[in-house]
């Protein structure tokens, strides 16, 4: 170690900064939007796109509520209603819930690990374009009045060729294929980043809870999404070329669809539930001034939830006439999964008691999440009981339950995460008064909307109906629910307004406005394209997983995009992986594959042409080009 003058030090750091800025520069040129591969850019795009779809899904919900506000209402005809409720479910589940988690994951997992980018940047970019195109394709269907109209779950034989002729359901199957392949791609990126890019000193048992949550969720995606993609493909084949997988006249079975769909569908709801638990852990630890109580318990709970969730799917099919012994097993599993879930909630509450909670807006949203999610969890345990479920299945009781868990756990937590991380993403603070108003309006509106639905279900109102008869005791409750829905929408709208206003003239956030301990707060807001000037070295061993960095990683070749790869378990430095810079191929491949899947919906023969085009794009992607990749190497001969 030589001593050097302050001038040299300052210059050295400035030189580092300049060279890193150059190596990690954003894309340039007229097509630069299409060439970005930076994880923060792609993550932000995912979040914004998902929020736009959230607004669309919300508008669909309000249209549904207007139609249901009075009995025998004629605001929407049944055809339009069926398209709208199908789009509402499909948008919220496939175009909002999963993508917003993955977007937050792409943005923050590298930051939480002190990494400069994800290890597979082009894959994450590709997945965004495929997601966007898949979502647009679905909406093209709706806007041309040929939208899918068999529900987000598309049960056969209603969704099959005989009872849903035309192209409507093909918009749905192809959207499923596109958006779920996209989700799989991001899952791969997140797993690789989390396992291989931890900073030295952050061994696996000291990884932030949100990174654990995203990793576990990504493994779940890997096993669940392929099932729905296969099922949707088989449905598409039944519809387009006459295969008989779900055709009972030839020996197929429409019930098989339900098994396949729910084998994906149940893990899907945990896929959108586990990352919010991770976000909640991060927020709670920051605003209570201490790490969450029971870190190991939480991680183990999330892992076991991930496994268990694959064994519950039959509880969506209790009314289909399956044998009693089989359904009893699923009752047991569906109730037992409440134990690890409940344990995490208890850990959160214990953290309030053992810390010094500051009830800022993010923590307010998290407490709203806990209060509402518990109700949803309880009604879920009720529905796990077969004798109870066969009375309340397919009624508004289930609609109430599912929104309590989905909005309670997913949306409220994402709102909290947005308030928490918005300063880091944009460099500005959100207005906390508006945040408080938004929370309370949302919370009150939410409960006004969804609590009465339980009563409606008990009073005999089935779900997925476009209208109902007067005189059944449902009319006033439905009117109340519609009013509540508009209050809820206003609450969410205030947050949207808050974000727009803050982008324009919010208070400057600085590096760490919440005085948080995790790594993403140790760089500027928003982070530069190289994320960290100093890649941190964390102290190894020790009890806590958010210690201050004790050192810096030195010796990167700053003229190219190098990432430090570390060993999976103990995070010791392994090698330097070189990632490509901006590239047009992810966009080209994303567009081509989306067009292939879309074209197949119109004519199956597009598959051949589309496949050839995709292969060409893949060649372009993988063809070595010395400019952005590695150094020249020489082979040795043996």
């Amino acid at each position: 170690m030589t001593t050097a003058s302050p001038q040299t030090i300052a210059d050295g750091r400035e030189r580092d900064r300049l060279i890193l800025q150059q190596a990690w520069a954003p894309a340039a040129g007229p097509l630069r939007w299409f060439k970005e591969v930076n994880a923060q850019v792609i993550g932000r795009r995912y979040i914004i796109t998902a929020l736009i779809f959230f607004v669309l899904g919300g508008i669909e919900a309000l249209l549904i509520r207007i139609q249901l506000a009075r009995p025998e209402n004629r605001f929407l005809n049944p055809d339009l209603y069926d398209q709208i409720f199908t789009l509402h479910g499909s948008t919220m589940m496939f175009l909002f819930a999963v993508p917003v988690m993955q977007g937050l994951g792409l943005y923050f997992v590298p930051l939480l690990l002190g990494a400069r980018n994800v290890a597979l940047p082009r894959l994450s970019a590709f997945s965004y374009y495929l997601y966007l195109c898949g979502g647009l394709f679905l909406y093209i269907g709706l806007l041309s009045n040929t939208g899918p109209d068999a529900g987000w779950f598309a049960y056969t034989p209603l969704s099959g060729p005989q009872f849903s002729s035309g192209i409507r359901l093909d918009f749905w199957t192809q959207m499923i294929i596109c958006t779920n392949i996209s989700a799989l791609a991001v899952a791969v990126v997140i797993i690789v980043t989390a396992l291989k890019q931890k900073p030295p000193g952050m061994s696996l048992n000291r990884m932030p809870v949100f990174v654990w949550a995203m990793t576990i969720q990504s493994f779940m995606v890997l096993f669940a999404m392929p099932v729905v993609i296969s099922a949707a493909t088989m449905l598409f084949l039944d519809r387009s070329v006459g295969t008989n997988i779900f055709n009972s006249a030839e020996g197929g079975d429409p019930l098989l669809w339900q098994h396949l769909f729910w084998f994906f569908g149940h893990p899907d709801v945990y896929i959108v539930f586990i990352p919010p638990m991770g976000m909640a852990a991060e927020i709670i630890s920051t605003f209570c001034g201490r790490p969450v109580v029971g870190y190991q318990a939480i991680v183990l709970a999330e892992i076991s939830t991930g496994f268990l969730s694959f064994g519950l799917w039959v509880h969506h099919m209790f009314a289909t006439g399956l044998p009693q012994l089989g359904t009893a097993l699923f009752t047991a599993a569906s109730m037992m999964i409440a134990i690890p879930t409940g344990m995490q909630i208890f850990c959160f509450i214990a953290t309030f008691w053992t810390g010094r909670p500051r009830l800022d807006v993010p923590l307010l949203w998290i407490s709203g999440f806990i209060a509402t999610f518990i109700i949803g969890g309880f009604t879920g345990v009720m529905l796990a009981s077969v004798p109870f479920d066969v009375q309340l299945h397919d009624t508004f009781f289930v609609v109430g339950h599912l929104h309590y868990v989905l909005i309670g756990a997913t949306v409220f937590t994402v709102m909290g995460a947005l308030y928490y991380w918005f300063p880091k993403i944009s460099g500005r603070m959100l207005n906390s008064t508006l945040g408080v108003w938004s929370f309370w309006l949302s919370f009150i509106g939410f409960n006004l909307t969804f609590l009465p639905m339980h009563l409606l279900g008990l009073r005999g109102m089935p779900r997925r109906i476009y209208t109902y008869q007067p005189g059944l005791g449902w009319s006033n409750l439905n009117l109340l629910i519609t009013v509540g829905a508009f209050i809820l929408a206003t609450g969410f709208f205030l947050t949207l307004l808050n974000m727009i206003k803050a982008r324009a003239n919010g208070k400057e956030a600085g590096m760490n406005p919440w005085k948080a301990k995790s790594l993403e707060w140790k760089t500027a807001s928003p982070p530069p394209s190289y994320t960290f000037l100093d890649v941190p070295v964390l102290p190894s061993g020790g009890p806590s997983e958010d210690e201050e960095p004790e050192g810096v990683v030195r010796g990167f070749d700053a003229s190219r995009r190098e990432l430090l790869m570390t060993k999976v378990v103990d995070a010791s430095p392994d090698y330097r992986h070189i990632v490509p810079g901006p590239s047009i191929w992810p966009f080209l491949l994303g567009l081509t594959s989306a067009l292939t899947f879309a074209g197949i919906a119109f004519d199956v023969r597009w598959a051949a042409i589309g496949a050839v085009l995709c292969i060409i794009m893949l060649i372009g992607w993988f063809w070595p080009n010395g400019k952005s990749l590695t150094a020249r190497t020489t082979w040795t001969t043996e």
Partner: protein, 220 residues
């Protein structure tokens, strides 16, 4: 690792008096790694996991639907002869050898051997695909006749698409290596291509048994 590297042009955070004893110097670390050290290997293994989920779904679909029939493959269907499917199966198993050797050669930095391996794999892949297309033609059933017909075509179709992708990929790697344009990334790519071929061979085993051997055994 015997690949030489160019001299590092500019190291970050190097040689200033802010260094502490906890700092770590990574300038000596390699820029290429194989196996589970490489993110590309992980990406491929995770992809194989996804595809295995599809394989499991197809197997489950087959078994679920089969249970609904008292005679299999159904009242009118005749199971195809075992000849072509068995030849295909054998070719697929053989293909694993050259690509595996190419992968090992790439890890050792032996370009010529890895190119040979890629070439043999590519030719075997083409052979397999030709045989597979003949096998499709020889199937006694169409995808729209009955459930067995649908299952055979869907499952074979899925596997064939994956194999076309594998063969094209091998061809591209061959082109790159022949043109001597390969870098570290492409060398890592050969190992990953080998993993993929291994998966294709393994996944065909349950399909071959369920689609061909089992119905033939039932007819005996």
């Amino acid at each position: 690792m015997v690949l030489a590297e160019r001299k590092i042009a500019y190291c970050t955070n190097y040689m200033d008096n802010r260094m502490t004893q906890h700092d770590i110097d990574v300038s000596n670390l390699p820029t290429i790694a194989f196996g589970s050290r490489s993110p590309l290997w992980w990406a491929e293994m995770l992809t194989i996991m996804m595809l295995s989920a599809v394989v499991a779904t197809l197997i489950a679909t087959y078994l679920y639907l089969r249970i609904g029939f008292s005679s299999w493959p159904g009242p009118d269907a005749v199971p195809p002869s075992l000849f072509l499917p068995t030849i295909c199966f054998v070719v697929l198993l053989i293909v694993v050898a050259p690509i595996y050797s190419a992968s090992k050669a790439a890890q050792r930095g032996e370009r010529q051997r890895s190119t040979h391996g890629l070439a043999i794999t590519f030719l075997l892949g083409i052979t397999f695909l030709v045989l597979r297309f003949s096998a499709f033609n020889e199937l006694g059933v169409r995808w729209y006749s009955g459930v067995y017909g649908s299952l055979v075509w869907v499952i074979m179709g899925f596997h064939t698409i994956l194999t076309i992708a594998a063969t094209v990929w091998t061809g591209i790697l061959l082109g790159i290596t022949l043109g001597q344009k390969d870098r570290e990334r492409q060398q890592m790519g050969i190992q990953i291509n080998a993993l993929y071929w291994g998966f294709l061979a393994l996944s065909w085993i349950p399909f071959y048994v369920l689609l061909f051997v089992y119905p033939a055994a039932l007819m005996v």
